[in-house]
């Protein structure tokens, strides 16, 4: 599903984002990217949804080589990859329903179809009783659920979550991780970026540790040891 071959990202003039990354992720995998702050985790995530282009190397997503993806093709990629961030990126002036519907609206989906899909995904994330709340009327965990719902409307094959629990307390964090596990169980490949040791250890899934922009370790059923 995801193949990285010797991927480098150098920010001008010479700041290393990542270097020499080789990574294969199978369909349906749940992979955690861990490492200290500034080691290139977010850079790696951005490379996956073409927010950044590799300086060197090859990135293939579902058979599509996006190493030199053209700007006009990026929207197509974004409709196949769901993305979730630490800061939710919800629009404050829109309700949960509207925030979720927004991703479909900009893709030109019919209103009748939107009314069908949005309640479905909001049921999956457990917000079906808070459709008409605004982000400010939600807890942090609920906001992240809304953001996840939005990332799911296109039924993405891959979900990239960059520190989705970074702003949440332990209980909310666990619930979000459970939600990601649930989404993964439907067959979606999940790439989770985190530096939360407890979460990673609880997952018992594949863990890739980055250090100074390079892969330091890559283990199945990994535990997050301090490097």
């Amino acid at each position: 599903m995801i193949k990285l071959k010797n991927v480098h990202k150098i920010y001008p003039p010479d700041i290393v984002g990542v270097r020499g990354i080789n990574l294969h992720v199978e369909p349906g995998e749940f992979i955690s990217i861990v490492g200290q702050s500034g080691t290139g985790k977010s850079t790696l995530a951005k490379l996956l949804f073409a927010e950044e282009r590799p300086s060197k190397g090859q990135i293939v997503i579902g058979g599509w080589d996006i190493s030199n993806i053209r700007p006009r093709e990026v929207p197509l990629l974004r409709r196949q990859i769901g993305v979730v961030f630490q800061d939710f990126k919800l629009l404050q002036k829109k309700t949960v329903f509207e925030n979720t519907a927004f991703a479909l609206e900009v893709a030109g989906v019919r209103p009748s179809r939107i009314r069908e899909i949005v309640p479905q995904v909001l049921r999956i994330v457990g917000l079906d009783d808070k459709l008409h709340r605004y982000p400010l009327q939600l807890s942090g965990g609920e906001r992240q659920r809304a953001a996840i719902a939005r990332s799911l409307v296109h039924r993405p094959k891959i979900l990239v979550a960059d520190e989705p629990t970074g702003n949440l307390d332990a209980i909310n964090a666990r619930e979000i991780i459970d939600l990601l596990k649930k989404i993964n169980s439907f067959g979606t490949t999940v790439v989770l970026v985190t530096h939360n040791r407890e979460i990673v250890n609880g997952l018992r899934q594949r863990v890739v540790m980055l250090s100074n922009g390079e892969v330091a370790s890559d283990v199945e059923h990994g535990r997050y040891k301090l490097a």
Binding site: L77, L91, F102
Partner: protein, 302 residues
Amino acid sequence: MTLIRIIKFAFQNIARNVWLSVITVSMLVMTLLTVNILLTLNVLANTAVESVEERIDVTVYFKDGTNPDLVAGAQASLIGLSQVRDAVRIAPEEALARFRARHEDDEAILSALDEVGENPFSYSLVVSARDASDFPTILSALENPSFAEFIEQKDFEDYEEVIGSISRVTQSVRWLGAVLAAVFLFISILIVINTVRVAIYIYREEISIMRLVGASSAFIRTPFWLEAVIYSLVATFITAGIAYPVLVSLERYADTFFYPANAGVLDFYLANGLLIFGLEFLILAVVNILSASLAMRRYLKV
């Protein structure tokens, strides 16, 4: 469906910074008004030149006792010239009557006329030209030997001078107006760029989320282009709305000047208004779309 959403976004852009929109439209209206003032001025100048040209005439006075048939012959041969609009024969009695009428308040002149006793006027021809530049031809036609010797005097005013000064004045006003319109257009472009820049700034969060969830670049950009077109359309309508009553009262005022002809400004706009405002809208819309594109290229990273 997508079109409706794009239109909705465009109107949201406008509504979210109403004041900037008002300023933008005002500046566009100023620019269009300047252009239309220029046009109106042009029409007025043409009317003025025409009306002066219409009044251009030479009065040819024949010697006392010239045979009326000879005068009629001269009249016929002048009318035959393509440069001559008309040649009117005035008999001595009519000339006297006109003279009396013109000076009916002037006792001294009238009593002097009575003193003379007999009619001091002779036959005359009033020859009007089609164009000021036709005068030399007409004057040389009057050298015709078959009646030249009966001509006492040729009288004409130098209208070239008048026409020259009209066109000098309009020329300089036209220049000034064109410079002013260009300056206004330039300011308009800057204001449109700034308005779109601010709209992009206000929408930065939405835009970044749109990109994240897979909105195409066209979907993101089109509302800003549409915004530019809407500004152009509104400005054109407002300009037309201002222009119409102004033109009506200008026409009423100027008509007294050009009586019995009319100033022709209103007629000109009634005949060509759709074309004029349509063209102005098109040009403005293209300029504004380009300005919006410039702003997006600079401030919108899509």
